[in-house]
Amino acid sequence: MNAFRIEAAGPRAPCGLQARTITARRMANSVLMIAILAAPAAAQERPVAFTNAEILPISGPPIAAGTLVVVGGRIAAIGPATTTAVPVDADTIDCTGKVIMPGLVDTHSHVGGGWGGDASSPIQPDVRILDSINVRDSGFRKARAGGLTTLNIMPGSGHLLAGQTIYAKLRAASTIDDFFIRDAKGTPLGGMKMANGTNPQKEPPFPGTRSKSAALVRQKFLKAQDYRRKADAAKGDPAKLPDRDLEMEGLLDVLDGRVVVHHHCHRADDILTVLRLREEFGFKVVLHHVSEAWKVADQLAKAGAACSVIVVDAPGGKIEAMDLSLATGAVLEKAGVPCAIHTDDPVTDSRLFLRTAGLAVRAGMSRARALEALTLAGARMLELDARIGSLDVGKDADLVVLSGDPLSVQTKVLQTWVEGVKVFDRDDPDDRLFAVGGFGAGRDQRAHACCTDGRLAETESK
C-alpha cells in the first residue's frame, strides 16, 4: 500500500521508513545525546526532500512536478523539480501522483477536553485553557489524521468571555508545553474567546438578554481601561503600580492588541454588535461561525472584519443557526471579506476538515479561496502567517501529503508533518486506527515517555 519510496542518501532502501528510524535511534544513542536533550525530542535531524509531487503552496500557483526540501524543521527550498536541488544527505520521499499542501490551520477547535471558565461569572479573562488540556486525547491523533497541524484550542461559548485560548502545534507531545507556539520572548501564543447571542444567556450572574450581554462586556473593558490608566500613571514606579490582577492583565492583552479576540456569533445583529464593541474599545477580532454573515457581507467588507466560518450539513439545531447557509464562504469571497473555515471539533470532525472546504466550493466558493480558508487565511487570523499557512522558504515545514485532489471525497491524508517531523502516517496501523476509527480509536493515546516508550512492557498485550 505504501506508494512512497523513502531514499537514504546512499543506496535506496525500499523500507526506508524503518531504516531511517533505526538510523535515527543509533544516532540518538551515540553522539547526539546532548543535542537531543537540548532540543525538542522530536526535532528533525536530517534534511527531507519530497520530490515529484503536485505542490499547492497556497501563496502561489500550483507546481505540477515539484520538489520541497525541509531542513531543520523549516522549508529550505520549493520549486519545480527541474530547478530545485535536493541536498546530498537528504532522505528523499518520492511523491509521484501525490499532492502536497500546507498543514491545515484550524482557527476554532475544542479538541483535548479543555474547559475554560466555570459557572461563577460570565467574564473570566484570567482563565487559560492551556491549564486543562490533555495532550494525549485521541482527538489530537484524529486531528493529525485529518491533516491538521495548528489548532486554536478554545474554551466554549457559554460565557461572554470564557478565557484565553492557545495556539497549538500538533507535535508529538507529552505536555502542553510541547504544543506551544512561542513569541520571541518565549511566551506561548493564544487568543481570547468571547461569545454573544443565546449561548452565554442563563441565570444571573450571566446575562438574560443581548443588551445585558453587551453592557456587561463594556463595563468590564471600561474597568480594564481604568487599570491601564493607573498603570500608565505609575510611569514605571513599582510603588505606584496597581496590584496585579489576572483578569485585568488578560483584558489588557486584548486592549493593547497583543491578543486577538475570537468571537462566537451567529445572527446578523450579533455580528454587528461585535463590530460596535470593537469600534469602542479598539481590539482585534475574528468573527467565528457567522451563520448570518451572508446577510451583512457588505458591512463586514467595509469594516475589514475577518470571518472564520463553520460549514455544517444542515441549518438549524438552534434558532440562531436557522439561516445558516453553505454559501456563506462564497458570499464573503465575493464581498471581499477575509474568510477561513474551522472545524469547531466536535461539531465537525477534524478528519473531515478538507470536506468542509469541498462543501463551500459546492456552494460557490472558488477552489483557490477554499483551500486558502483551510490554511493561510486561518494563519493570518491567528497572526501566525509569517510562520505557517503556506509553503514558502523559511516557513515551518508543516505539510500534508494527500493521495489526490484535496477537495475530492476519495482523497486520503497519507502523511502529516509538523516542523519536518512526520506525526501521522496512514501506512502505520496504529495511526490508521485513528484515521478510520475502530476498536480503541476513542481511547487516549499512549504516553510519549522517556523510559518506557509509553508502554509498560508487562501489560503490553500487543
Binding site: A314, G317, I319, R362, V409
Partner: protein, 417 residues
C-alpha cells in the same frame, strides 16, 4: 416549474373537480410525462446504463434503457443530467418529528414520560412542512424512514414517507414501519431512580412486555368472548411484533447490546432490524448468522467518549463484506447540524471500503429492501414509483450538485444544491 405548492393556483377549479370525480386525491393532479436523461443512469436493478433515459408516465416508471433505443414522446418534459439515480432513501431519520429550530414546540421525536410506549405513532407527529424535509429533498432524498428517535427503551413507531405533500397522508408509504427500541446507555432515563437503570434491567423489561403480549394473544384466540382481553394499544402493537408483521428497530452500539438484541429476536422468533451498530464489526458473524439487516449509523457520526467511542468509517463496508444487508442513514441529531444528509453519509462510506455502486445501494435498493418497500422505490424499472435524483457529476463528490429531484413523476426541485 410547477411544484406541488403552486399547482392548485395555476390549475384552478376545473382540475380539482375532475379529480374529485375520478376519486383521486386532490393534491395528485395528473403528473406530466417526464423523460429523465443521464450520461449514466444507475438503475440499481442491473448494470448502469450509459446515455440512458427513464420515462415516467402517470407517476410510474414505464421505460428504462438506452436513449438510443427508447421512443420518447415529443410531449415529454425532458430533465437532463450527468448522473441519474433512483430517488434516494434515508433508511433512518427523525426529520419531520424533530424540527430544525430545536425548540420545545418542534421536538416530537421522544416522550420521556415512560420507558415503553410502542403505541406512539409517527404519523401523529409528522410535520410535512418541516424545513429539514425540503432540505434533504434538495439533495435527492425522496423517501425517508422517520419517526420516534432513540432515547427510550421503546420510544414509539416509525413510518416510511415520501418527502412531499402537505399532509402526512400525501406522502406516506408505510404508516407503521417499525417499533423503535434502544438498548444501552441511551435507554436509561435521565432520572437515576427510574428504570431501566442497567442493561440487564432494560432487557428484562422488554422481555416482560413480549411475554405479557404472548399471554394477550392466547386470550385473544379464546373461543369464549368473555375471556378475550379488552383492547389495549400497547398490546396490539407488540402483538404485531410477535406475529412478525412489525419489526423492532433496535438501536444498539456496543457489541454487548447487539448480542442482547439478537438474543431477544431468537427467544421470541421476531423480526428485528439493527440500527447504528457502532461495534457491529466485532459481532459481524453473529449478525450474519441471525440474518438480521443493519441500518448503520451515519458514517460521520461522532465518536467521542461513551458507547460510540469505537465507531469506524468502515463499518458499512465490513458488514457488507460479511454478506449482511446494510443501509445508511442520517440518524438523529440533537444539535448542530439538526440533520445529516444520507447522500453525504453514503459518500463517506464510498471512500471507506464500499464501491460507489455498493454505497449507492445503501441509500437506494438495499435501504428499500430493509424497509420493505422495494416494490415501490429504490430502483428504476417499469412499474416502480417515478422517483429520480439527477446530479451534475459523481453524486458522492463534495462539489457535485443535485440538479433535479422527481417524486411520483413530478419535478419537485430544480434548484442546484
Amino acid at each position: 416549474m410547477l411544484t406541488p405548492h403552486d399547482r392548485p393556483l395555476l390549475a384552478g377549479g376545473l382540475i380539482v373537480v375532475a379529480l374529485l370525480a375520478t376519486g383521486a386525491p386532490v393534491a395528485a393532479a395528473d403528473p406530466p410525462l417526464v423523460a429523465v436523461y443521464g450520461d449514466i443512469v444507475h438503475t440499481m436493478a442491473g448494470p448502469p446504463i450509459e446515455k440512458g433515459v427513464v420515462l415516467i408516465e402517470g407517476g410510474k416508471v414505464t421505460l428504462v434503457g438506452s436513449a438510443l433505443d427508447i421512443p420518447v414522446p415529443p410531449a415529454a418534459r425532458a430533465v437532463r443530467g450527468r448522473v441519474v439515480t433512483p430517488g434516494l432513501i434515508d433508511a433512518h431519520s427523525a426529520v419531520g418529528l424533530t424540527g430544525y429550530l430545536n425548540q420545545e414546540q418542534d421536538q416530537d421525536q421522544l416522550d420521556s414520560g415512560e420507558p415503553i410506549q410502542p403505541e406512539l405513532r409517527a404519523i401523529d407527529s409528522y410535520n410535512p412542512r418541516e424545513r429539514l424535509i425540503e432540505w434533504v429533498r434538495g439533495f435527492g432524498i425522496t423517501t425517508i424512514h422517520t419517526g420516534h428517535a432513540p432515547g427510550a427503551l421503546v420510544s414509539g413507531q416509525t413510518m416510511v414517507v415520501k418527502t412531499v405533500g402537505d399532509s402526512v397522508d400525501d406522502g406516506v408509504l408505510v404508516p407503521a414501519a417499525m417499533v423503535a427500541v434502544t438498548l444501552g446507555d441511551d435507554a436509561r432515563p435521565g432520572d437515576a431512580k427510574k428504570s431501566p437503570g442497567t442493561r440487564s434491567k432494560a432487557v428484562a423489561m422488554l422481555r416482560g412486555e413480549l411475554v405479557k403480549t404472548q399471554d394477550y394473544l392466547r386470550k385473544l384466540d379464546s373461543d369464549d368472548a368473555e375471556k378475550r382481553p379488552d383492547r389495549d394499544l400497547r398490546r396490539e402493537v407488540f402483538a404485531d411484533v410477535l406475529r412478525g408483521t412489525l419489526p423492532l428497530l433496535v438501536t444498539a452500539n456496543r457489541a454487548t447490546d447487539i448480542d442482547a438484541a439478537l438474543r431477544i429476536a431468537k427467544e421470541f422468533g421476531i423480526r428485528i432490524v439493527l440500527d447504528s451498530a457502532a461495534e457491529g464489526y466485532l459481532v459481524a458473524d453473529r449478525i450474519k448468522e441471525a440474518g438480521v439487516p443493519v441500518i448503520v449509523h451515519p458514517s460521520m457520526r461522532r465518536g467521542g467518549a461513551g458507547e460510540t467511542e469505537n465507531i469506524s468509517f468502515e463499518t458499512a463496508a465490513t458488514l457488507r463484506a460479511k454478506g449482511i444487508r446494510v443501509a445508511l442513514q442520517s440518524g438523529f441529531e440533537g444539535y448542530v447540524p439538526k440533520t445529516r444528509v444520507a447522500l453525504f453519509e453514503a459518500a463517506i462510506a464510498a471512500a471507506n471500503g464500499l464501491t460507489a455502486e455498493q454505497a449507492l445501494a445503501t441509500i437506494t435498493a438495499d435501504a428499500a429492501a430493509i424497509l420493505g418497500v422495494a416494490d415501490r422505490v429504490g430502483s428504476l424499472r417499469p412499474g416502480m414509483d417515478g422517483d429520480v435524483a439527477v446530479f451534475d457529476g459523481d453524486p458522492f463528490e463534495y462539489a457535485t450538485h443535485c440538479t433535479a429531484v422527481v417524486i411520483d413523476g413530478r419535478i419537485v426541485s430544480e434548484e442546484p444544491r
